[in-house]
Symmetry: C2
Subunit: 337 residues, 2 copies
DNA sequence: TTGTATGCGTTATCAC
DNA sequence: GTGATAACGCATACAA
């Protein structure tokens, strides 16, 4: 590949001059500038970004760490597409690293992006604890933002949606409609989001003096199949319920299918609520209500804040995004409607 | 950040020795090796990957170019998660660049990864033509593989699934079941995949001496909403059909919803076939048959081939992956079943 | 087994 | 305006 040196020779100038016309910094005569551009075109020169970054100690890249297990589904693709678009709008490039299946691998992914000298890092954590994340931020000078966690120490370095509060709100609305027997399908319980949604369910019941009944709670693992399995288990227990909250839409969809197959009409007999409001849901199960977590807004705020920091700014503000319950048919109805 | 120089000083050795223990190349005494490791730990040293890559002219990264518009949906997330996993299994890192919304931007994304000196590039093209892709491969020394296109010149640098043949096969199976009035919802027609699926539909009809009727073809744009809209349009035309092929599952799902709302029973009256076999489909519309394109197999072959090339190998073999029709209820039935 | 010296392709700070 | 030249942090051939 042609280097700057070759361009310089071809144009009859020095490397320094070529660099000047490329960076736009410093004075260059119009005529020599033209010669340089000609030489660049002739030689098919392309700048070596590695060398440029090394010399300038700026890479113009943002790193994003997400766990493989989140890749599936609409929520992730939406997050990623917005992140990519926004980053490039700001004249930078998004680099993606896979956090895989453990805290250690998640840490390695972060470290990799750091080693690549990304200007800033966005972490959508899955396994790392809040304290570990706080510590990572402490130990590095690069701006780091954490999505979907409420950090203790670096409160302004995170943007989150209160999963528990959203869950409380959704369940409360079911209660307000007259439901008392509300079943719950959890997500994976090694995931903070899964834990918080479950905890919100219990909290809402407690607030309305309704006892938490273990036979109404089954464990899922985010997939449609596990949602179906959850309903099968509930029915096997002879549990009766007029409403069902699944910890995400995928499971809710699986659950609804199982309810149908078990000859239970939906939503006539069971009101179902999910989380995430995936785009395809209204077309498949119009009866499904869903709590929408505003991924777009969160990633936008995150990147804006990061860019602001890179420009030397300093944040002392924290921000949370509320989940919004998208009501379709089912939640409207009380039990036995 | 601590550099190699500082580690060397702390360990009382030269930079070269530190480099040797890090790369594992060259002889280093056990005792000094221990001193170096100690110094690394003490100083919190982290290698600068930019400098390492510049010096060694190897980045250990694979670049992947995908267009933003493909980000949505399960197909993409599956592709990406497999690509990331496989790349890291091979001891390398995956870098992602967004091809955005035009051939020019797609070209820029490729160029960016090239400028970053990725060891090799994977392109999942959306706008670039086969000839342009062939030309790009011609002009660069890095190994480049193209997914989902059949290149003319560099036949061994691509892995594709014959979209047209899959479409012919699916439609033929409908015809074999006795269907004669088969409607078709296209994808976006600026997309080769969209064009090929339509062309396969026409081909299958021609093969069975069935006239292509324009009133049975409506244009969609991949989304569930456009699928629903397509059916609405078909019905508005008073078109009659016993089967419907949608160019992907998202549109098929939207179409089925619209058929239901128009008081048409499905699959009793209309057999529906889609493409992609998205994971959630069996839970939402068990009656939907679908042509599965084996993304996993394609990306696996692609990366294997790339790694092989990086190791100095040379491919002269081309490979295609057949689409497979996943039959569920609907296609089984003939018309008026 | 270890150190020295040079190069990787830029940017950036000086002089001229 | 332009040209040397020193970083940037590392790998590596060559000496010792």
């Amino acid at each position: 590949m042609a280097t700057m040196q070759e361009v310089a020779k071809r144009a009859g100038v020095s490397k320094a001059t070529v660099s000047r016309v490329l960076t736009g910094k410093g004075y260059v005569g119009e005529e020599t500038k033209a010669r340089v551009f000609a030489a660049i075109a002739e030689s098919g020169y392309r700048p070596n970004l590695l060398a440029r970054s090394l010399a300038s100690s700026k890479t113009q890249t943002l790193g994003l760490v997400v766990t493989n297990t989140l890749y599936h589904g609409v929520y992730f693709s939406e997050l990623l597409s917005h992140a990519a678009r926004m980053t490039e709008d700001k004249g930078r490039q998004l680099l993606l690293a896979d956090g895989k299946h453990s805290a250690e691998e998640e840490r390695q992914a972060i470290q990799y992006l750091l080693d690549l000298r990304c200007d800033a890092i966005i972490i959508y954590p899955r396994f790392l604890s809040v304290d570990e994340l706080d510590e990572i931020i402490d130990n590095h000078s690069q701006p780091i933002m954490v999505l979907n966690r409420r950090l203790r120490k670096h409160a302004s370095h995170c943007v989150w949606s209160d999963q528990k509060a959203s869950s409380v709100s959704a369940v409360s609305q079911l209660i307000a409609r007259g439901h008392r027997d509300i079943a719950f399908i959890t997500g994976s319980l090694d995931s903070p989001t899964g834990i918080e949604r479950l905890s919100g369910y219990k909290e809402a019941l407690a607030q309305h003096d309704i006892a938490v009944r273990d036979e109404l709670i089954v464990q899922g693992k985010w997939t449609p199949a596990s949602g179906a399995q959850g309903v099968a288990e509930l029915l096997a227990r002879n549990a009766t319920f007029t409403a069902l909250v699944a910890s995400n839409d995928d499971m809710a969809i699986g659950a609804i299918k199982q309810l149908h197959e078990s000859k239970l009409a939906v939503p006539q007999q069971v009101s179902v609520v999910g989380f995430d409001d995936i785009a395809i849901a209204p077309f498949t199960v119009p009866a499904l209500s869903s709590v929408k977590i505003p991924a777009t807004g969160m990633i936008k705020e995150t990147i804006n804040r990061l860019i602001f920091m890179l420009d030397g700014g300093d944040f002392h503000q924290q921000q949370t995004f509320p989940g919004e319950l998208i009501t379709r048919d089912s939640i409207i109805n009380g039990p036995h409607a």
